[in-house]
Amino acid sequence: MKNRLEQIRKQYGISQEQLADVLEVSRQTIGSLENGRYNPSILLAFKIARYFHLAIEEIFLYEEEIK
């Protein structure tokens, strides 16, 4: 799943460490999310969306997998 987390985080001018600290996850998790290597749980997705005052769909872009 693609996401705009890195772009949004940079717009807010905060570092991965700061975001990780607020969301109470590790910095590596934020890095993996931004790289698209890791998909967050619905709980973390909500926390991220709430923190940036956005809807989940505005951050995480759901695409149907083409088989």
Binding site: E24, V25, S26, Q28, T29, S32, Y38, P40, S41, L44
Partner: protein, 141 residues
């Protein structure tokens, strides 16, 4: 002393007691297998107990609120939890293959039947635990 540290000390003491029982108490020839089990499990428990106790002393000496918070975040981090679960599942899967191979090797080597049955029993235990936890989590989730 924290409650956790008391448990570690108790574990180490229980391990020591098992080693003593296995080494000095169960000396009869007929009790040799039980004695071996006691020494093995006792040694593992004693080493883990002492190790965890020492570790808790080292950590608690340097631990501040902030360090503790960061540590908690690392432990509860959902990606780390998922990594641990995946690693655990893969390890269990491969250990199963290792155990299967071990039983075959024991059979080929002509090992005593009780050894082969004990090793096969481990697979049975694993299967029972798998069924139990599958059932438990299917109800819970």
């Amino acid at each position: 002393m924290k409650r956790r540290q008391v448990w570690f000390l108790l574990l180490a003491l229980a391990g020591g007691a098992l080693i003593a029982a296995g080494g000095f108490g169960l000396t009869a020839e007929s009790q040799k297998t039980i004695s071996g089990f006691c020494i093995g499990i006792g040694a593992a428990a004693a080493v883990l107990g002492v190790g965890w106790f020492a570790d808790s002393l080292l950590v608690s000496a340097a631990e501040t609120e902030e360090v503790r918070r960061i540590k908690q975040i690392e432990v509860n981090d959902e990606r780390n939890v998922r990594i641990r679960e995946k690693a655990g599942a893969k390890t269990a899967k491969y250990m199963n293959y290792v155990l299967d191979s071990f039983i075959i090797v024991l059979g080929v080597m002509g090992a005593a039947p009780y050894l082969i049955l004990t090793a096969a029993g481990l697979i049975a235990v694993e299967l029972i635990l798998f069924v139990y936890f599958s059932n438990y989590y299917s109800k819970k989730m």
